[in-house]
């Protein structure tokens, strides 16, 4: 169990002439919740897409659970669960159909996925829509389906991109609790979000990237010491070189009233 859950060495990626990642190095041991933050367009989702195999023409070495993901072997994806930020779903299917389909893709038996999915939906309080089409779901219900879909095959590494979006406070509370028990079981969670308060509270370690570079990497208290700031939000502002929020806000309000 000594090897890293995720290991990224000298990762470069560009779209055309636009350089998105400039040599990222990250080593993540198992059983940790990693807050992965950065401003819009910093390269967060590109990193996650590379780890998932959605983007392949990168440069560098990327290993998930010790396996180099560039060799074309898809076995490692069995150990991965993923909640995308803007999710595509075959929403003309019912939850039963969609979830069993995905479960079977992971090699589970239909009966196993079916009973698991049903129980999980019940725990989230949406059991009654199990046989309705996903198109008819509310945003929160869809998010719950995505959460269940990412966990149903009991993966070891989890990529969550804004997983709380659309969830009510109670469901969000359940989900945070789920994350910490999963981490205690030795699962690794790669948590990406713009809500700094949540990241600050749940993360064992925080990685901040800006312009395709890692600009901070450590526990929350380490970052506090390093940057002499109190909250993660302030640390974020400082490290991304942003300090004119008051000015912009006051200009903004002036324009509205003008």
């Amino acid at each position: 169990m000594s090897e890293c859950a995720i290991s990224i060495r000298d990762l470069y990626m560009s779209y055309g002439s636009k350089q998105v990642l400039n040599g990222i190095n990250i080593e993540i041991p198992r059983g940790k919740i990693i807050g992965y933050i950065g401003p819009n367009g910093a390269g967060k989702s590109t990193t996650v897409k590379i780890l998932l195999g959605l983007v392949t023409n990168y440069k560098g070495l990327v290993k998930v659970m010790g396996q180099d993901i560039s060799d074309g072997n898809v076995e490692y994806k069995k150990k991965i669960g993923y909640i995308p930020e803007t999710a595509e779903i075959y929403d003309n299917l019912t939850a039963r159909e969609y979830l069993t389909f995905l479960g079977e893709m992971y090699g589970m038996s239909y009966e196993e996925v079916d009973s698991k999915a049903k129980k999980l939906m019940g725990l989230f309080g949406i059991e009654e829509v199990y046989d309705s089409r996903i198109t008819s779901y509310s945003k929160g219900m869809k998010q719950k389906i995505l959460i269940i879909a990412s966990l149903i095959h009991n993966p070891d590494v989890l990529f969550f991109d804004e997983p709380l979006s659309g969830l009510d406070a109670n469901s969000a509370l359940i989900f945070k609790e789920i994350m910490s028990s999963l981490a205690n079981q030795g699962k690794t969670i790669f948590y990406s979000s713009h809500i700094m308060e949540v990241v600050e509270k749940i993360s064992d370690r925080i990685i901040l990237i800006n312009n395709g570079n890692v600009v901070a990497d450590g526990t929350f208290s380490q970052l506090q010491v390093q940057s002499q700031e109190g909250s993660l939000e302030e640390i974020f502002n400082q490290l991304t070189g942003f300090n004119e929020h008051k000015q912009i806000a006051s200009d903004f309000v002036k324009v509205i009233g003008a």
Binding site: L54, V74, E75, E88, L93, D131, R133
Partner: protein, 555 residues
Amino acid sequence: MKEFFLLKLLDRFASFFNSLGINYKQLRMILKVKLTLDHRNVPTIMANTKNVENKNLMVMSMFIYSFMGLMISIFVWIPFSTFYKMNMIFGMIIFMILATMIADFSTVLLDVKDKNILLPRPIHNKTIKMAKTIHILYYLFRITLALSGPSLLMCLIHFGPVFFLIMLLEIVLICGLVMFFTSLLYFAILSVFDGEKLKDIINYFQIGLTIFITIAYQFIGRMFSITQMNINFTPKWWNYLIPTTWFAAPLSILTEKSYSIFYVASTAMAVIIPIACFNIYIRTIVPYFEQNLQKLNDNSGGKRQNLQVFRLKKAIASLVCGDKKERAFFTFTQNMIASERKLKLQLYPSLAFSIVLPFIFIFITGSQNSFAETLNALHTSNGYLCIYIGIAMTSFSVYFINMSEKYKGAWIYKALPIENPSAMLKGAFKAFMFKFNIPIVGALGIIFIFLCGPRIIPDVILMLANMLLLAILFFKLSSKQLPFYKDFKTMQSGSNVGVIFLLMFICGVMAGIHFALKQFVPFGITINIAISTIIAMLIWHYSFKISWKDIEINY
């Protein structure tokens, strides 16, 4: 999810797939989901009901294809040489399949949704590719069967079983070739364009194709009289380049014992080229697609607004809309229709016909005469009344005012403080008129003034008045819904034809009155212009007092 026949068939080849390094169990699941989804493309109204499997649409389209196939099969009985006949038949079949592939399967071929759902799962690339290929082939075969089935049957009766079997084999080869051509075309488009531009290009391409096919059909009747002569075929070098000759050649060898080198070489090409093409498709084009599909989601590259066009638009808007909110809706509608691809795809072909059909009509009715004679006759005849066909076709646009791909965005109407919804409807209506109807009918009028002489200027003015009257009447009669409010899916595929017929009928009546007043009443045209204008204005002013209560809201 029900069990599909295709899957049961594939089950027999499970071990074959597995030996290719494909996970058959996964392949089967993916295909099952895809087929189920295809069956479920139903109106959103029914989306909440459990397990509605809508087969009607599919059965309907298969029926249409079979009907076309039946028309094609008539050629089997025409006493031409087999070679010529089969060239015609294959030509039409290939063209039809290619057209449907390009129009309908861009969605399957260029699907990016798949990638985001399937790629994060432990599914090997080979499996995904195979699933996609089988999915496309399945539909390709279905359409091909419907289109070529009748001809195959006729050939079986007319030429016997050996001919039938060879032809059947050739049809399979044709499918491979069509796959190749379709993807080659998208391959070319994909490598040149990206993002929104790419989607636009595909859109325009589909529109162009729809127009081309329909016009081509108009001409088939005429072609017959031209080609009903003895055909002496002497092979030329470029004949080798025409796919239909490859496929017609072996059948000619069979029935006409034409063993010359041309026929033998063509036969060889009929076998070799499709197989080679299909290989290239699998090996080169499919991987290329996978890499470049990303481009579809690329939305970078902003467009700068042309200042002069912007000023012109603004001037027109303030000229035609007195009310401020109405003006806002006028501009909004024009901007919306500029970017609605589905609207363009459905509406532009009928707009193009509204320009083309009047001319086709003139030349069909005058088909005994030469081209120049027909043109000359226009100087004295009442041929310009054909503009009414164009008016009927353009008025169809009104039908689309409340349709949108992004119909869900219509919640804004209710959130906005709009006391009087008629401003919205009027603004949107005017925008449609200025974007489509007035320019098109105006252009038709100008062309006809050139052809028929300035004597018809009053008639053209009357026609413009009648066009507005028809559009207002039609708008008034159609259901009162907010602009861009309904999904295209709610539009019934059959109802378009009914609407067009109704418009044609009213237009016919208008043309009749126009003609009668002109012939038999002094100052008839002037009187008619006055009457049409007054009726139009009355309807516009008195029946457009719409309140929120009258609006159909179906959330």
